[in-house]
């Protein structure tokens, strides 16, 4: 949920999104691309494009299921095999950035992605947490995982950081606040920024609406843009 929410910003770049959350593929729904058929070309599977300019390419198991409500009850080896195909057999074309949306945990999907991307290059990982202790506790393990697998941590994002009441503007820290920033300090990682808990963002993702186009003045937009810019500068560096 956290990863998926934050990936949905369209940059001025050619971006690919690889959704390896095989049990819970949310990207097709969030980007409102429906259930198009995945075609083959000479170079491999053609990704689904979210926009007519073909700036945002997507591959997800959601496109391959007969019924979008179907449960994918697979054990590790099968998941590993499909992820291998997603990496090698999709004709991504020329991309500036390939974003990989992973499920929670540190299991087959994560190992499969890293193993398959090794021969190319993994520039790094962005870790998303909500501020409360049970979340930061899990992300702490993810940080160790990245260190052990020599994946550079590009930074930590604190999602659902504070809720501003639309009625009286009082800010309530429903999921606490600052946990992500603290975690970044504790582990010597970059803190990329916080994204507030915004019902408009949640609703946009439900409807597959482009939040950035619909609400360019919101503070959530500013927060996400800043995170994107910080990330891009660190990639360019």
């Amino acid at each position: 949920m956290l990863h998926s929410t934050l990936l949905c910003f369209i940059l001025l770049y050619a971006v690919g999104i690889l959704d390896v959350d095989l049990c819970g593929p949310s990207i097709p729904r969030m980007l409102r691309v429906g259930k198009p058929e995945v075609h083959q070309c000479d170079a491999g599977w053609v990704p689904v494009y979210a926009d007519p300019q073909q700036q945002l390419a997507i591959m997800s198991i959601g496109f391959l299921l007969e019924d979008s409500d179907e449960a994918v009850i697979w054990r590790g080896p099968k998941k590993t095999a499909l992820i291998g195909q997603f990496v090698s057999d999709v004709a991504w074309g020329e991309l500036d950035v390939l974003l990989v949306d992973t499920p929670p945990g540190t299991s087959d999907e994560h190992l499969a992605v890293l193993e398959n991307l090794r021969k190319h290059r993994v520039d790094g990982a962005v870790l998303v947490t909500t501020p409360q202790a049970v979340s930061t506790g899990d992300v702490r393990r993810e940080i160790t995982f990245c260190k052990k697998t020599a994946v550079k941590i590009l930074g930590i994002v604190e999602n659902m950081s504070g809720f501003v009441c639309p009625h009286c503007s009082e800010c309530s820290n429903i999921f606490s606040k600052g946990g992500g920033e603290e975690l970044a300090k504790l582990t010597g990682s970059v803190f990329l920024g916080s994204v507030p808990l915004d019902p408009l963002l949640a609703a946009s993702l439900e409807e597959g609406q482009d939040f950035l186009q619909a609400f360019p003045d919101s503070s959530t937009y500013t927060a996400i843009s800043q995170i994107a810019n910080t990330l891009l500068s660190s990639l360019d560096a």
Binding site: M1, L22, G24, I73, P104, V134, R141, I174, L205, E206
Partner: protein
């Protein structure tokens, strides 16, 4: 020619028989956990919807509603074990004379979690097979004693852990937790379908983070949407077990390891969890009939 034909027929029959035996051997047999009367799994499909918080407060709710019942809690989320934090438990389990792990107890609930066996920052970077073996240990090599209910906090998803647990242990019922968002509900639906496929009765849905009331002006905001879970429950033909609001108190008490059902028993949030527990008991009884 005739002899060859018969020979091939006999061969293919015994081949089929061997295949059948092999397949039958491949499927694990369900074995109840010694001393445990009913196993309830708490699942979601999606991560981050409050499954562990619900599992913890459900276990405490079951005990709060009926003090004579003994309830245990198994944290099957090996990758992100939250139970130690939520139940304020730490430390390595001791071993009994029979080489079983002694569960750690708080608020009267014996608990077992991967979190007790590894360091707080250590990731569990395991593939499916190792996870299955770990789950087996967390289930069977624990001295649970006699329990009326064992609540199992499942990890998100519909993969190895879910399959291992549902194939190896007879489950009395599954509680599916979701927020009202479509994206969470989509995964909850997949979760429900998985349980149907493996013949585990779905006791019902819990709609978590349903509404937030501003502490200053009391204005209510449905941050994650309105009533999505209720609609899904209707579509799937399952019951709504309850509705839990988004309240700072739940998160604050969770972070401190003082679950809301025991730390603020008179609060509406605690009451909501106790209602879910009561609904679970009723559904279990209905299902037995």
């Amino acid at each position: 020619m005739t002899m060859y034909f018969i020979f091939i027929q006999v061969c293919s029959k015994s081949l089929q028989e061997r295949q059948r035996q092999h397949m039958a051997r491949g499927l694990p047999k369900q074995k109840p956990i010694a001393g445990v009367k009913e196993v309830i799994v708490v699942a979601s499909g999606k991560g981050g919807v409050g499954k562990s918080t619900t599992a913890v407060n459900l276990a405490l709710g079951l005990m709060a509603n009926d003090q004579s019942k003994s309830v245990g809690l198994l944290d099957a989320d090996v990758y992100g074990p939250s139970v130690p934090k939520l139940m304020n438990l730490k430390g390595n389990p001791e071993l009994t004379d029979k080489n079983l792990m002694r569960p750690l107890v708080n608020f009267g609930i014996p608990c077992m979690s991967m979190g007790f066996l590894v360091e707080e920052v250590a990731p569990i970077v395991w593939r499916g097979l190792m996870v299955m073996s770990a789950i087996e240990k967390l289930v069977r090599q624990v001295d649970w004693g006699n329990l009326d209910y064992l609540v199992i906090d499942m990890p998100p998803g519909t993969g190895d852990v879910q399959l291992s647990i549902t194939q190896n242990i007879p489950i009395a019922g599954a509680v599916i937790v979701s927020t009202p968002q479509d994206i969470a509900l989509l995964d909850a639906r997949r979760g429900a379908e998985m349980f149907r496929k493996v013949n585990v009765p779905v006791l019902g849905l819990v709609q978590n983070m349903s509404v937030f009331q501003c502490p200053k002006c009391n204005h209510q905001t449905h941050i994650f949407g309105l009533d999505g879970a209720k609609e899904l429950a209707q579509t799937l033909g399952v019951e709504m077990l309850g509705d839990i609001p988004l309240h700072l108190n739940i998160r604050e008490t969770s972070d401190k390891g003082q679950p809301v059902v025991v730390s603020s028993p008179d609060s509406p949030e605690a009451e909501a969890y106790r209602r879910v527990a009561a609904a679970v008991v009723r559904r279990l009884a209905e299902h037995l009939r």
